[in-house]
Symmetry: C2
Subunit: 247 residues, 2 copies
DNA sequence: CGCGAGATTGATCGCCCTCAAGGTAAGTGG
DNA sequence: CCACTTACCTTGAGGGCGATCAATCTCGCG
């Protein structure tokens, strides 16, 4: 079995999930991992296929997508370098719920479930950080469900850019993690629509859109533009149900 | 502190998460739980508020919702009797990501995080089932994200009904877990649209819609109706699959 | 019976998709 | 350096789905 280079494996050791692991466990796990180089855009695994490993992104980006019966593809998440993905599949351990595609060249570490689960079964205190990790992912998806369900294309694009902005106010440049077509799929809209949203955003002075990046002169202005359609009569109160107990 | 009746607490003991717990731990946990009766539709907690406990539904149903900046409410999940909710919040332990509302009368068991986390910190092998539980929820939300992102109103309603159908084919009656307005919010559409979808579904012979239930004479026919979309003018009638079981 | 909440139905409008054409870089070979 | 290629992006015209606004209907209930 081709073992992973120590320097590369160090990146995995530095993740929140593994940094509390004892040396012995890490060495044992490392002996079962292997490097997976993807030379161009290619499919790593497909939704519904048997799952035997999860992955860590060393370089490049991975797109996790799910397709409807009609064939429409929805990108659920974009995985950046330094992140793990498909870890949760191991705890139910059957099949991948999404299709994983590399966006151009990418390099991964493949971590088989078997030795991983063996270790945490004997040292269950190592799962603490994983619960936190899954919890974060759950929150992310809850947010996504709301956005996809009720928010407009303008709002989705604006929120997405704002999420990528550094917290501190002031001009920022957001690097898009993928092509605009893929970004549209990630946002649940069509590329043409994304293009028009960018055009409106730019015309309003809320952003300057480049080929693979977006400049945001004033995040607050973008925020305001993003939420602008809720302006007229937003005072509508949600009716309190009749028998609301105070108890 | 009002302690929980043994018979009610037994329902909590029977959940996948707790059934492997030792007696001592359960008794300790029980002493910190309390019953929460909700006499009518009311808010249990709001999104963003400090989280100190999670809940188990004894009776009634809970709606977990998330609101956009524009005030549009999206019901993320409907919790049925026998289910836990807000458990994952404890592992990151800050604030609830959703608002929890009871749909009519409901009775809950409130389980404070502090004693719960204390127990699993000392007996981390108990977390195994929780990882599986979070993994299931993750899959559910991934599905939801795709549905909200790319699927039509007709498809969302059809899929929802089919998910509630028993696996075995043949006529089925699906009890709606909430009002149609709430169901619309759950599906990310408006009540008027839901009404029209039901009307079309009924006219096509794929379902018979009642006040609080839907009869599905043939799930395969509904499935076919749900997935029709490239066909030009098939909004009128669908043909019955050859071998539709009568059972 | 009158009341009110939920559900239905109709008319109209706007957002977003679809289809189609044109534009704009990057890479290639002459 | 320049046609040519190719992939990606943009722009335009038109249509459909679902939202909005508003009226009517049904049903449970005091």
């Amino acid at each position: 079995m081709m073992q992973i280079d120590d320097a590369l494996f160090q990146r995995l050791r530095d993740t929140p999930i593994f940094k509390s692991w004892p040396e012995a466990a890490l060495l044992h796990l490392q002996s079962h991992c292997r490097a997976v180089p993807l030379r161009g855009a290619s499919i790593l695994f497909s939704a519904g296929s048997q799952a035997s490993a999860f992955y860590f992104v060393l370089s490049g980006r991975m797109l996790l997508s799910s397709s409807s019966a009609a064939g429409h593809e929805k990108i659920v998440e974009i995985i950046q370098p330094g992140q793990l993905f498909a870890l949760a599949v191991g705890f139910l351990g059957r099949r991948y719920p999404v299709t994983a595609t590399s966006e151009g060249r990418a390099e991964l570490i493949e971590i088989p479930f078997a030795p991983f689960l063996g270790i945490i079964k004997e040292q269950p205190e190592l799962t603490w950080q994983m619960l936190a990790d899954l919890s974060i992912r759950l929150n992310f998806l809850i947010n996504e469900v709301r956005r996809m369900g009720v928010e407009s294309a303008d709002t989705r694009v604006g929120q997405y850019l704002l999420d990528l902005c550094p917290q501190h106010a002031g001009p920022a440049r957001v690097e898009l993690p993928c092509t605009k077509a893929a970004l549209a799929a990630r946002l649940g809209i069509k590329p043409e629509t994304l293009s028009r949203v960018f055009a409106r955003m730019q015309q309003a002075g809320a952003a300057v859109v480049g080929r693979r990046h977006v400049d945001i002169p004033c995040p607050e202005a973008l925020q305001q533009w993003t939420n602008r359609q809720s302006e007229p009569d937003n005072r509508r109160r949600i009716k309190q149900p009749a028998g609301c107990p105070r108890s």
